[in-house]
């Protein structure tokens, strides 16, 4: 992916660039809001990592200006802890997601991919597929290899999250945020308990386990098709 990193702290910017390079992404750095606006309107990027506290135009201003100009590139805000106000204002201004600094590189990558999936899916009628699994988000229906499964609400939401992001990792943090609306990480492994239940349902007829565990990061459904 080609990313625009907007960060005025040179050290933090350098670290983000190297982290993203490790994951195989190209990055361009803009060190203030004005430069970010110019670059984001001139060149195509897959996503923007946007710091909130910036000279000239702050992150919220950048997000708002970009959306006003019709630039729909995914924006992930990077905020300091405690900036709950700014997080909410940022999302209102058009940012797609936020992460508290410092965020783990895989988490950043997973969030960007999730945003890209979300925007790519807008033409569906709530139906998503991965391999032999088909879910209908609106009708709350899961079918695997022609067998209709009955998944409780939370397990169903987890499966939807996995299929929506098929072939990329869904982190624990992402599950907590999208399924439970938790802005903290619980001490017990709630996600693991639920994944076990989703797997039990999916593999009840002896099928192979479609959910891969990415140790230390999260879970993924791989769709070879």
């Amino acid at each position: 992916m080609r990313l625009l990193v907007v960060e005025d702290d040179a050290r933090a910017a350098r670290m983000l660039v190297s982290d993203m390079a490790d994951l195989g992404h190209d990055t361009v750095v803009a060190s203030d809001g004005r430069a970010a606006l110019l670059q984001a309107t001139d060149e195509p990027f897959d996503a923007i990592l946007l710091d909130v506290m910036l000279p000239h135009v702050d992150g919220i201003g950048v997000a708002r200006a970009l959306r006003d100009r019709g630039v729909l590139v995914p924006i992930v805000m990077l905020t300091a802890l405690g900036d709950l106000d700014q997080r909410l204002i940022g999302l209102d201004a058009g940012a797609d997601d936020y992460l508290v600094k410092p965020a783990a590189p895989v988490e950043i990558e997973a969030r960007i991919k999730a945003i890209l999936r979300r925007s790519a899916r807008t033409n569906d009628h709530g139906v998503m597929r991965a391999g032999d699994i088909e879910v209908n988000e609106i009708k709350h229906r899961v079918v695997r290899a022609g067998r209709v499964l009955s998944l409780p609400k939370l397990e169903f939401q987890m499966l939807c999250e996995l299929i929506r992001n098929k072939n990329s990792v869904v982190t624990r943090q992402m599950f907590y945020k999208t399924v439970w609306d938790y802005d903290f990480e619980p001490a017990t492994n709630i996600v693991e308990s639920y994944i076990r239940r989703v797997r039990a349902q999916l593999c009840a007829a002896g099928e192979s386990d479609p959910i891969a565990t990415i140790r230390g990061v999260g879970y993924m459904i791989v769709d070879h098709g």
Binding site: L81, G82, L84, P105, V106, A187, T188
Partner: protein
């Protein structure tokens, strides 16, 4: 053993006591001296009169004395005196004084009992004169006694007024000093209770109390600033460490994936778990600072705790089941209050997780919500091993953990966070013995 008064009240009481005692002594001495001087003056006069009656050696006959007595009884300046002269045989020779019995020789006092007409209190002087005759002179002391009584009264009144003034002054000083001290005590109590912004009131008079209050306030300002510095330093350190730790974790996670199935696999899994624990501490600390900062109060909305607790119960039931425990939720109806829904959710999750993590398998965990008119109680009770009562406060403290749980997962911040969230909502967390087990109860004021 010596008595040393310590309290201001005792010092003032002692001071007033000493002053009154000294006043009493001075006034008493004063009275005694004047009283004696008066009596001596009366005696001196009686002696003088007696001398005038007995006359010089050349005319000391009884007849001459009787003559002089009669002269004196007619004279104006000795109208308050009465005379009596008796011869050797006790026969009346001269004088108006009638007495049942002659008082003893020398000076003596007499009262009503002496039966002297018109004299209630008197002083008598009896003297043997020539030829075995006896001369008695009596002075009517009513005027002197009246003066003496007034003098006595005046001393008492003076003493009473002075004592009242001293006692009143002392009470005023005690009240004034105590008032300022109480104001300072209130501030100290408030600071101890966590309200670091509390200051001693200053009235601007720049008197010694004001100056002390200002010095005290300046000290509190300084402590405040130092604490802010420490907090900032801790935050900076945590923040600086979190970045490299997050990167470290990413690399360890990658290493673990590559090492899976090799001899290094288990080791790297353990390292990853340890790193996650450190990161968890950082996340909890930062969360704690965020809560203690109080800014989240601006995001309070109406929250139904009954619904929230059912939600959390539903979420954690599978986790409890995996741990072999049973989780049940009991509520009595809607329990709506104003709060931060994310924090309240974290509070309940932390409490239930605490019960799941720190009890053996097959523990029964009951979550309940009770709404009364003024408060909402949220409780989590288990029938596990519990916590000794004397350790209840310790486990709520930051990093406060039981000796027996050091080898178990957890970082000692779970209940601290719960307590901080309860406090942010104006409530409190208390731990109780559920006999058997532990019951954690949060009481939140019910102000929707």
């Amino acid at each position: 053993m010596s008595f040393r008064p310590r309290s201001l009240r005792a010092i003032m009481l002692l001071y007033v006591g000493v002053i009154v005692a000294v006043l009493l002594a001075v006034r008493g001495a004063n009275y005694v001296i004047i009283h004696d001087a008066l009596n001596r003056e009366v005696d001196r006069r009686l002696a003088l009169e007696a001398h005038e009656v007995t006359g010089d050696a050349q005319d000391g006959s009884i007849a001459a004395m009787a003559r002089r007595i009669r002269t004196k009884e007619r004279a104006h300046e000795s109208a308050d005196l009465m005379f009596l002269l008796r011869d050797r045989a006790g026969r009346h020779v001269a004088g108006d004084l009638r007495l049942a019995a002659i008082p003893p020789v020398g000076y003596s006092d007499f009262g009503d009992g002496a039966g002297v007409d018109g004299v209630t209190h008197g002083r008598a002087f009896v003297k043997r004169v020539a030829d075995g005759a006896t001369l008695a002179i009596v002075s009517d002391n009513d005027v002197v006694d009246a003066f003496d009584a007034r003098l006595f009264q005046a001393q008492w009144v003076g003493l009473a007024v002075a004592s009242l003034l001293f006692a009143g002054g002392a009470a005023a000083i005690v009240w004034q000093v105590s008032r300022r001290l109480r104001a300072m005590q209130r501030t100290v109590d408030a600071v101890m209770a966590g309200n670091l912004a509390s200051r001693v009131p200053v009235d601007g008079s720049r008197n010694e109390f004001d100056r002390q209050a200002m010095a005290f306030n300046a000290m509190l300002d300084r402590i405040d600033a130092l604490m802010a510095n420490v907090k900032h330093a801790a935050r900076d350190v945590a923040h600086e460490l979190k970045s490299p730790l997050a990167r470290l974790r990413t690399r360890i996670a990658a290493l673990e994936r590559h090492a899976a199935g090799t001899p290094l696999g288990d080791e790297s899994s353990a390292i990853l778990a340890e790193t996650d624990q450190v990161l968890e501490v950082f996340a909890s600390l930062m969360r704690l600072w965020e809560i203690e900062g109080g800014q989240r109060r601006s995001h309070f909305v109406s929250v139904d705790l009954e619904q929230l607790v059912h939600e959390v119960g539903e979420t954690l039931a599978p986790v409890a089941e995996d741990a072999g425990d049973t989780l049940s939720v009991q509520t009595t109806g809607p329990a709506v209050l104003s709060g931060d829904v994310h924090l309240l959710r974290q509070m309940v999750v932390n409490l239930v997780e605490n019960a799941i993590r720190h009890t053996p398998a097959a523990t029964r965990i009951d979550v309940f919500v009770r709404a009364t008119g003024t408060a909402v109680e949220i409780g989590v009770a288990d029938d596990g091993p519990g916590i000794p009562a004397d350790a209840h406060d310790t486990v709520i403290l930051r990093f406060g953990r039981l000796e027996s749980s050091i080898d178990r997962p957890g970082h000692g911040l779970g209940l601290t966070l719960v307590d901080a969230i309860a406090r942010l909502h104006g409530g409190s967390l208390r731990l109780e013995d559920a006999a058997p087990g532990l019951r954690a109860v949060i009481t939140l004021p019910n102000v929707p």
